[in-house]
């Protein structure tokens, strides 16, 4: 009986020791997962729709392109899906037709990445270079309080989702 109690207490002691050690070690490593991020917000107001010219506009703070076609707007990410460099846009003198993901689209610009030479059609579809995925489209909506455009880069939307104003 006594022996049993002794081994039980020994195990309890070792267990308590290991648990407290792991607790201490946890406090060493847990701080490395940030609780607050002082980064630019993922959902931002980017001004009145009317201030955007026809065609493509780059918003450097959020690394996103806003594209206006008449009264419709959409947002495409400027972060290359290969290794995260900022893709640049190149405008064509004349719009041209390309087949992107089985559909024929008319594009007046394309994207390319300087780091490793990936290329994307105007709708963000990758067609050349090492990029593994198309550039995502982000949610775009009108802020109900002051009518500004809001882009939410934490929410991806289907290609072709456009905001009509």
């Amino acid at each position: 009986m006594n022996e049993k109690r002794r081994t039980f207490l020994k195990k309890l002691g070792i267990g308590a020791f290991l648990a407290s050690i792991s607790g201490i070690i946890y406090t060493f490593f847990r701080p490395f997962k940030p609780d607050v991020l002082y980064e630019p917000p993922r959902r931002v107001k980017i001004g009145e729709p009317s201030k955007y010219p026809e065609g493509i506009t780059f918003i450097p703070e959020n690394r996103v392109y806003i594209i206006r076609e008449g009264n419709s707007f959409h947002a495409i990410s400027a972060i290359c899906t290969h290794l995260g460099c900022t893709v640049q846009s190149a405008k064509f003198a004349q719009a041209k037709k390309v087949v992107s993901r089985g559909e024929e689209i008319t594009e007046s610009f394309e994207f390319f990445c300087a780091c490793h030479g990936s290329r994307y059609y105007g709708d963000g579809t990758n067609y050349s270079g090492p990029a593994p995925r198309p550039l995502p489209w982000f949610k775009l909506y009108i802020s109900p309080d002051d009518g500004q455009l809001v882009v939410d880069i934490s929410q991806e939307v289907e290609r072709g989702t456009k905001l009509k104003v």
Binding site: H82, G84, T86, A114, G117
Partner: protein, 437 residues
Amino acid sequence: MEGKIKKIFKRLFYTWAPSSGKESGQAIIKNFFLHWFPNKSLKRSLSWGYSLWLGTASLSLFIILFITGIILMFFYVPSVERAYWSVKDIEYVISYGWFLRGMHRNAAHLMVAVVFFHMVRVFLTGAYRSAFKELGFRELNWLVGVALLLLTLLFSFTGYLLPWDQLAYWAITVGTNIASSIPLIGKWIRFLLLGGNEISQNTLIRFYTIHVALLPSILTLLIAYHMWRIRKDGGLACYDNLILNSKKVMTNPNPTKTYSLLGYTKGKSIITFDYKLDEEMVESSPNLTVRALIVFLITFFVCFSMTLLLKTPLEEPANPSVTPNPAKAPWYFLWLQELVADTTIKIGDFTISGGLVGGVIIPGILLFLLIITPFIDKSPVKSIGVWFAKERRKQIIVFLVLIFLILILILIGTYMRGPNWRLYWPWESWPEKPVNL
């Protein structure tokens, strides 16, 4: 006459000086700074041609980096707002700042190269194994060496971000995104490494602390262990080779050890044998110590000359919205960047990112090969400690081909990649306006 002058000199400046081989050995062992050297050394292991002294050169570079690094720490400010400007001050305002930063940078680049060639030397001489299991276990020291090589690369990588210029920012962007292409845990690793979703203040302070505190401590301990193991494994591998080729001579079977540290020991007296290597050995002081000093001086001289001849680059401040074209990783990672750009595999609609193939899988396989090499190499023991032993021809050819491929990829990445990562001959000029679709 000369003897007399020496005698007077000794009288004036020594209270005691070694007068025999035994005493000069004692002088080494009892000295704090010299105690890691053996009493006597093998002539062959002191020759320039056998080891090329690359390990000593690596340590010399580490010492230079340690000293210049501490001085730079007094002037560098690890904050996003001030990092770039403090480096600019080091370069243009602080007296000799340009010199210290240049020495630090050149020594860092040299260290990557020298540590790498140190590994190549050990491989080519088959020095990662022991001919006599009872004399040592060099396989373990090879593993420590591989760890030291990886730590050296990590050292360089973390230091690369600190100037916070365009070069730094985009090299780290590409580097950390390679990590995020590891399946399942990649995104998580990148988040922890950066301390957020993008390169920010959190990233800078993390890289800084790893660079100036964590890695120097780990590296110092590992280097000490690496050197201690060389001694405990019976010296350089050429020693094993010498023993294999010499005759065992029995010495008198006297009871050589009847006392242990704790008192009288019972049991049989130990029978010893000897290889009669006395002719092959020399006193470590001055033969080893002076050579080590010469290697340090040569290393220092090379660093010094590079600093005077080469301009230490500092580009524009980091700008997350503008990627320079082309954006290149540091040269020792360019072979990886080249692989990453070339290895995206497309099967129909299914794509495997080059980041995973070239950035994780291929280097992972190479590292795995490095780790298991000493354990799978079953060539005869007489090939240990011999340059280009013919018994190891196959291993050496495979190894050299891999090294050669890595060097070729580095050269292509450095000299032949222009805007949009297109191939250009080194003598071809790049287009003035790189946007060309």
